[in-house]
């Protein structure tokens, strides 16, 4: 869907026009995007650019060396990370590191939910034998960013949403739709466009609760959808409510999963979740 259509549709709704502060794309991410448009740009140049920000680089390296990727050798520098993990993955880590404070401040438990869902996405993708497991992991990391925008812009409404979740046993997205007439998934898509994220990352942000509607990367949306379920089933983090959402049969079937897959997936995920507790304070 072209961005204008979505923006028109969203701005027709009652509260969304009050969202004025769409977080600006982190400067460093904008710069990276700009220099890689030039096909002459080398890995070393991108590496140098990211390494200039030492605090940021340290955060990115901590994530690169975390249980996420289960590297057997330590990644010591950003250029190494670029070679081993690939450009898109490092860009995703840079983006996440630069909005880390925002995620932490906006909603208690959302950061943990995000890294849990990222790890689960990576584990499911690897279990399925996919070679894009690291990229799917980044999709899992970003999937609920729309919640950050809502928390920062509409605190009053979000208080109402939280009340509804508690009193009426609603899922967070159901309460959002009742209060606002839209939810974090739509805002996530909007944010992704504003930040010029690739459509393959925007789609799971928009469709992780309706993965059957995906057209570009249905498998990515399906994996993030199931990873979200698993993270909630494990009680890792807090995404606004603590309940397991309904499973999309289309997502289950497109991945060809069987119930017997749960055991190896959970056995691989559990130690990762335990060591990820290290990442809960990235500073």
């Amino acid at each position: 869907m072209p961005p204008t259509v979505i923006q028109d549709r969203i701005s027709a709704k009652k509260e969304v026009r009050r969202i004025k502060n769409l977080p600006t794309v982190p400067g460093i991410v904008a710069k990276i995007s700009r220099i890689v448009e030039n096909p002459e740009t080398s890995v070393a140049e991108v590496g140098r650019l990211i390494s200039q920000d030492q605090v940021l680089s340290a955060k990115v390296l901590r994530m690169a060396n975390s249980a996420f990727f289960g590297m057997s050798r330590k990644i010591n520098t950003i250029p190494q990370a670029l070679i081993i993990l690939g450009f898109e993955v490092v860009k995703g880590l840079v983006l996440t590191s630069s909005v880390f404070d925002m995620i932490q401040k906006s909603m208690a438990g959302l950061w943990e939910h995000s890294i849990g869902c990222a790890a689960a996405s990576g584990v499911i993708a690897a279990h399925l034998g996919r070679d894009d497991a690291e990229e799917v992991l980044v999709a899992g990391l970003l999937h609920d960013l729309g919640k950050v925008v809502l928390a920062l812009n509409l605190p009053e409404e979000m208080r109402l949403v939280k009340e509804k979740v508690e009193n009426e046993h609603l899922y967070f997205y159901e309460a959002e739709n009742q209060v606002l007439d839209f939810d974090h998934a739509e805002i996530g898509q909007w944010l992704a466009e504003h930040w010029n994220l690739p459509e393959s990352l925007a789609e799971p942000m928009r469709l992780h609760h309706k993965p059957e509607k995906a057209v570009l990367k249905p498998e990515w949306c399906a994996i993030v959808h199931i990873a979200d379920i698993i993270t909630r089933a494990k009680g890792f983090g807090n995404a606004g409510d603590m309940m397991v959402p309904p499973l999309s049969m289309a997502a289950w079937e497109i991945l060809g999963l069987k119930k017997t897959d749960f055991l190896p997936i959970m056995e691989k995920l559990e130690p990762k979740l335990n060591s990820l507790k290290d990442l809960t304070a990235l500073n």
């Binding site: 089933a233 009680g235 335990n274």
Partner: protein, 149 residues
């Protein structure tokens, strides 16, 4: 269960859940090996600050049971709106068996629920089992404890 701890807090006898490698990739200790005083001193010299250990060492029966009970209570609430979904029910059962440290039972249950025979889909008998996992749980764990000590 894997737990990451500071090297300074490591104790001899703990089992490494992950290998330990130096920054340049040189292996210092392999996964599954036991922590010794010598290893702790060596890691401190190498400026390694944390290691992953198998956490179960030292967990008492009471602690395991309390954690299991808390897991079940939490999961009953978490799955409250999806109890009717057979796939998510299988996920819940898997997690409950894992919490009981009954890997083989989880596998047997999943294989049975995957098979197309009508018996496997008999949810009544499954529910009945779920009603009182504790009687069974206590004996299983006390056997384990008996063996361990």
């Amino acid at each position: 269960m894997v737990k990451r701890i500071a090297v300074d807090l490591a104790k001899p006898g703990q089992v490494l859940a992950e290998q330990i490698a130096r920054q340049d990739g040189v292996l210092l200790a392999s996964q599954g090996s036991e922590v010794s005083d010598a290893l702790i001193r060596m890691l401190q010299r190498q400026n390694i600050d944390s290691i992953a250990i198998e956490e179960d060492e030292g967990r008492t029966f009471e602690e395991i049971q309390a954690a299991y009970q808390a897991d079940v209570t939490r999961m009953n609430e978490a799955f409250i709106r999806v109890e009717a979904d057979p796939i998510l029910h299988a996920l819940k059962k898997t997690l409950i068996f894992m919490s009981m440290q009954e890997r083989d039972k989880a596998l047997a249950y999943l294989e049975l629920s995957e098979s197309p025979s009508p018996e496997a889909k008999d949810s009544d008998s499954e529910e009945a089992k779920e009603e009182e996992p504790f009687a069974k749980e206590v004996t299983l764990n006390s056997q384990k404890r008996g063996k361990g000590k």
